[in-house]
């Protein structure tokens, strides 16, 4: 089985990812020959400087953002599902994205509503292009995760914790509504656009920041991959195996806050990818081993995000769809499938 994963699944996923990456670079209102696209990406000279600018300044950042965001959200989902031992856990379900939204809302909307303090800390409001939103989203996501964990120390029951995560999410959304209510139309629109999700908002200059945040989050995820396997058995068993629960929890939460918070800051709250991709990979690899799943989740996250982005751009049309609607349309059937599979499993025993 391990041989099948090494020889078939991983290379297969890499090929699909590369193919979709190329497709996403080819798509757009200006037609550029595939050969030119490859030459530009690989750093060779081409005759048309316009093509070069379009690829390097517009299309490449978007595609790279999609891959980074998809991988990050998927890994974050894998981590949450392992930590909370709940197949329906994910960054969105536990309110991380709501927390990030609150952080961004405070910066984008709050600045105009007189939150001078936040303005000073995170940069300017509506036209903020700097690290303001990233920092705010990470702080927001981290706070919600911290709250969820604080409560998780007191209650051990996963279902209650999940409900509490949802409640924190609702709380954060309510605060966002307040901010929206007291904000100007201009700022609200810029917040709404952010909340629909998009891989296009990342400027080439910001890409290294996103890559750095995601890279750090992924490195942490790799670092605590062993304890994630043990955590599948529950905290008591994990502890009996020598896992330091506090330390691995901390590691996983920081990692998830970086991954989900970072991506949400740059791309908005992209729904469902984090929840759906781990299940797709479990179904594909038929394993619960997090060490085997992690690379597949990273690849599959990139694939699904690229695919959603391509669909959202509606090949052949000038319109683009809100990214969130597309990921939800792809993700929801996956969740339905997982529930049906689980029922089938139960029925077999």
């Amino acid at each position: 089985m391990n041989a099948r994963i090494a020889v078939v699944v991983y290379p297969g996923l890499i090929l699909i990812l590369l193919a979709l990456f190329l497709v996403s670079l080819l798509m757009g209102s200006v037609a550029i020959a595939p050969a030119d696209v490859i030459r530009i990406v690989l750093g060779f000279d081409v005759e048309s400087q316009v093509s070069r600018t379009i690829i390097l300044q517009l299309r490449l950042p978007e595609s790279v953002t999609a891959v980074l965001a998809g991988s990050a959200l998927a890994v974050s989902g894998l981590q949450m599902q392992a930590l909370f031992r709940n197949p329906l856990a994910g960054p969105f379900v536990l309110g991380i994205n709501a927390g990030a939204s609150l952080g961004v809302a405070v910066v984008v909307l709050g600045a105009a509503s007189g939150f001078a303090l936040f303005e000073g800390v995170f940069g300017t409001g509506a036209n903020s292009q700097g690290l303001g939103t990233v920092g705010a989203a990470i702080v927001g996501a981290g706070s919600i995760m911290g709250l969820v964990l604080l409560v998780s120390q007191r209650i051990r029951d996963n279902v209650s914790l999940l409900i509490l995560g949802l409640m924190f999410g609702y709380g954060a959304s309510a605060l966002v509504s307040f901010l929206v209510y007291f904000s100007t139309a201009e700022n609200i629109q810029s917040y709404m656009l952010w909340s629909m999700g998009s891989f296009t908002a990342v400027a080439p200059g910001q890409l290294p920041v996103l890559a750095g945040v995601v890279g750090l989050g992924l490195a942490l995820a790799v670092g605590c991959i062993k304890s994630m396997n043990a955590l599948l058995l529950g905290e008591d068993y994990a502890q009996s195996l020598g896992v330091s629960i506090g330390r691995s929890r901390f590691c996983i939460i920081v990692s998830t806050a970086l991954l989900a918070g970072g991506v949400t800051a740059f791309c908005g709250p992209v729904a469902f990818l984090g929840l759906a991709v781990p299940h797709l990979c479990r179904g594909l690899l038929v394993t619960a081993d997090q060490r085997v799943l992690l690379p597949a989740v990273i690849l599959m996250g990139g694939i699904l995000a690229l695919f959603s982005d391509i669909v959202a751009r509606v090949p052949g049309a000038d319109e683009t769809l809100p990214l969130n609607s597309v990921t939800a349309l792809i993700g929801a059937p996956v969740v339905v499938w997982v529930i049906l599979q689980r029922r089938k499993m139960k029925g077999m025993t």
């Binding site: 670092g223 062993k226 058995l233 008591d236 009996s240 896992v243």
Partner: protein, 350 residues
């Protein structure tokens, strides 16, 4: 026998916001290689708390727990995990997890940061699966196993940790009797043949009496009584273990709890073989006192299993039945009911 686990003046319980609730205190215990110890006690008396404390999963309130001579808190988590393994009552409901992978998780304290299994690890895993007799299960998914199979696999996972001390919380709960026996025999084999110390909590006094080398009896007052099962019956300690529930008494001869016999109607069973034995059991079950002294009725048992028949003689009436269900039915409706009514009238039996 070398001592694996030792406690001195150990207090167990819970500490919440400054206040501590003591479950038991002043415990001086020891556990040696090669012995199977059953920890018995009534519900809620603190068996799991004691188990969690001596395995380092829960802090003690005071006192010392020594593992191989070293205080537990001075041993690193990894080192402790190489010596102590547990089987808990927590449910393991993980999709897509194969038995072999679950057992492999037991190698956690021995593997590198990425959890890679070396050859010694895979050999140990294979050995653990064989040792519990689960070789044919190793490619199955854990959530497809029966309760008994899952318990075996969880024991294999603990065994893969190569522990000197194994602690199991209620390993035989939810299992039927043959499987309970199988698990207990397996654990005793591991203790005796593999020279490990095995501690388990159970409610199953009968099984503990038959299999344990020693019993730890955690009394409702927090006192712990230790001894071999037979000694504890002889000196009367076992009787005090469970707070007397209505109408349940400890039978010193059989070493088990029984429903206290009410002042039953005396009846005699005549005959031999299984037909007589089970007629006696059936009558006892409905509260009849089976005796040859002044019986109000007599049951004559004849024949072998397939052809057995019973004849009830009650005063002048004689009734033959061919099943024990009919016998019970007849005795209840015709003998007991009528005799009791008459007894009420005259103040004496027939």
């Amino acid at each position: 026998m070398s001592v694996v686990l030792e406690t001195a003046q150990l207090s167990i319980g819970y500490r919440t916001q400054g206040a501590s609730s003591v479950v038991a205190e002043g415990l001086d215990l020891s556990l040696s290689r090669g012995e199977l110890v059953c920890l018995l006690g009534a519900n809620g008396v603190g068996k799991s708390t004691l188990l969690r404390t001596v395995t380092g999963m829960q802090a003690s309130l005071s006192g010392v727990v020594r593992l191989d001579g070293h205080p537990l808190e001075e041993i690193s988590a990894r080192e402790r995990a190489q010596k102590v393994a547990v089987v808990l009552t927590d449910s393991i409901d993980i999709g897509q997890l194969r038995v072999r992978n679950l057992v492999s998780l037991g190698r956690y304290p021995y593997t590198d940061w990425a959890g890679r299994l070396r050859q010694t690890d895979t050999e140990r895993v294979a050995w653990a699966i064989r040792a519990v007799g689960a070789a044919d299960l190793q490619d199955r998914f854990v959530n497809e196993l029966s309760d008994g199979e899952r318990q075996k696999v969880l024991i294999a996972r603990a065994l893969a940790q190569d522990p000197t001390f194994m602690a199991l919380d209620e390993p035989t709960a939810f299992l039927d009797y043959p499987h309970r026996l199988e698990i207990m025999r397996l654990l005793r084999d591991l203790a005796w043949n593999e020279n490990r110390a095995v501690l388990l909590t159970t409610h199953d006094l009968d099984l503990a009496m038959r299999m344990a080398d020693r019993l730890w009896l955690l009394q409702p007052d927090g006192q712990l009584v230790v001894g071999s099962p037979e000694d504890l019956v002889m000196n009367g300690r076992l009787q005090n273990l469970f707070p007397s529930a209505g109408g349940v008494t400890f039978d010193v001869t059989s070493g088990s709890f029984q429903l206290a016999a009410p002042r039953g109607l005396p009846m005699q069973v005549v005959g031999d073989g299984l037909a007589a034995v089970w007629a006696g059991r059936a009558l006892s079950r409905i509260g009849v006192c089976v005796t040859s002294e002044q019986p109000v009725a007599t049951v004559l048992a004849e024949g072998e299993s397939g052809t057995a028949r019973w004849t009830v003689t009650h005063g002048a009436t004689v009734q033959a039945v061919s099943t024990l269900a009919d016998l019970v039915n007849y005795v209840r409706t015709q003998v007991v009911a009528k005799t009791t009514r008459r007894g009420d009238d005259d103040g004496a039996f027939g």
